[in-house]
Symmetry: C2
Subunit: 232 residues, 2 copies
Amino acid sequence: MKTIEVCLSPDLMHLYEVQDKTVVVVDILRATSCMVTAFAHGVDCIMPFADLESCRGMNKQGYTTSGERNGEKVEGFDKGNSPFEYMEEIRGKKVAFTTTNGTQAIGKSIGAMDVVIGAFLNLTAVSKYLVDGTNNVLVVCAGWKGKVNLEDTLFAGALVAKVQEHIGTDCDAAITARHLYDIAKGDMAGFLKQASHIKRLNRLGIHEDIVFCLTEDKYDVVPRLRDGILCC
Amino acid sequence: MKTIEVCLSPDLMHLYEVQDKTVVVVDILRATSCMVTAFAHGVDCIMPFADLESCRGMNKQGYTTSGERNGEKVEGFDKGNSPFEYMEEIRGKKVAFTTTNGTQAIGKSIGAMDVVIGAFLNLTAVSKYLVDGTNNVLVVCAGWKGKVNLEDTLFAGALVAKVQEHIGTDCDAAITARHLYDIAKGDMAGFLKQASHIKRLNRLGIHEDIVFCLTEDKYDVVPRLRDGILCC
């Protein structure tokens, strides 16, 4: 039986062997939710950047630039980090994307056999991809500046629960995440009112974004990293 | 109101400021449970070591040497890592102690304003110490070779629950730990049968150790680190 493990922070990535694994990168609020939304609306590709200035420079090469730091859109970028920005004027576009946590986690996953983008929005699509595949799985939670967060842990738990008949786990972080999801699944938005990042985002007035990012199975896409670029 | 945070792995310690905090180090199976048991039975002091050879050398200075790696006693050491070894022939002794995870976590906590040793065995005593103190609190889970584990996370959750009327939290890891403890508290030994380290330890035939280490409030001691040495 294949196995699934959960890495609760990108700062723990060094503890896991990834070269023969499929890594699922998750940053529910909001990087990977935006990416899934963009692919569902026909984006051509997304190039993730860890640093702001390299990303900004991509507009000269015809890319749409997306920049977020600390929950806010960066001045001079075309788009920020709300999924609603990735439903329009996105078809056929190439996007250069940098965020506080999500694109950093993607960067740390390079070296894995396969890297895919997960969110509640494509939960079942990702589950099916993992069950159909042959690789063992590592879910990498982007967290908040290295610290563990509730929303990414919840997604990891949802994924572990979803695949558990086909993919086993002997990983305490995966067990923790699955139990947390069991508690929260009836009312995730309510449960997440405790979360530190939710409080941060509520101050920015983006409650609609949060509700949207917690919607399961809105889209049937599985973005994958190929040669450093996300495609579908 | 004071605050309590939880660091789920020593490999995430760099994300937390500790110089003005009380750090509670926890390695339920079994380093901190052994230490608490030793102080309850009159040990004079315990000097923690990260590396095996420095620890071994302390027998020349009249120390009792305690060494554990991967759950097993190290050859040539006086004692291993079972709490039952710290109930006899321990009064008035000085102990040099090295373990796979626990003493490493203590080493990473040096620099904190105050470092104390926590276990289920002294849960209420540690809670009272934290509530009576003036410092903010960071619970550091020793985990297993850097990875998050269930038993230390459960203790962190128990501690957060115990102090919550007096010490607040805005830390997602602390919220996760508290929820996990809420699920498990009715039957911790049963809950922990899922845990990776429990399976590892069961192979070593130490079920009695596990049950003992999950006993709440057997002892009323709070070991503290002073100049690199644990005293009570």
